[in-house]
Symmetry: C2
Subunit: 158 residues, 2 copies
Amino acid sequence: MTRTPPIILGILAISVTTTLAAQFTPRALMPPEELIQYRQAGYRFMKWNMERIKINLNREYNQDQVIAAANAVAAIANSGMGALYLPGTEEDIGDVETDVKPSFFKNAEDVARLARSFIAAANDLAETAKTGDQRAVHTAFGEVAESCKACHDKYRDD
Amino acid sequence: MTRTPPIILGILAISVTTTLAAQFTPRALMPPEELIQYRQAGYRFMKWNMERIKINLNREYNQDQVIAAANAVAAIANSGMGALYLPGTEEDIGDVETDVKPSFFKNAEDVARLARSFIAAANDLAETAKTGDQRAVHTAFGEVAESCKACHDKYRDD
């Protein structure tokens, strides 16, 4: 066997590492434009459920519907949507537009803080919904809406 | 006061009835094009989570991620998406296109049967995910994928 020059070994090592990284990161497995669409789908579906809860609070209260809607919001909030903000998803890609501000990607700690606050509020709403206490649901719903807005105000282009 | 002619009273009555109905039906509260977008968001977000579970099964298994993904699928499945198929949402509306076949709206019993089967499979996947038994998760995942496909084959235009 001939000895492989170190420079070639180095290139091979980098190549293998890059390939492995590409295989095991969601970014390579899912195109960035799909990640943008997935995160937008999550927010849109939560919006429907928040709208339904609001309608229930303002009009006729259906406890089963509020529980189902709050569970959907909580499960989406807990799904790990951070994985949908990988590098390459900062800007519009072709027809797929994103409203996220560049600053979102530069303030990981603040974003994490807002995310934790949102998840806590969503979990609380789901728990409160089960009690059927409409006044408490109203308050918990307001907390979720506030935590949505806190992030939108800072990190979403309107 | 002058007496209001009966014909005018009749028109007023119809008008009031229509307004009340419009206020209290989700259709009037949410435009049909939004309902189409909400249901598509639900399916797309479930697709992300199904893709993640598949990646976990085929590559490196992360139990927390599979649990979170399966919970999201189950919560969306149980959210009552039937409310997003109200009259007026059968066809494209402007730029908002839908792939649902007209036959979907004419076979309520069959659609309900498929929906129940899908919800049962999604709930089973969420329960199985908690056990961490990868072989069982693989089987339960397959059941959900089959139940998605069963409805797509019948009622979705490709």
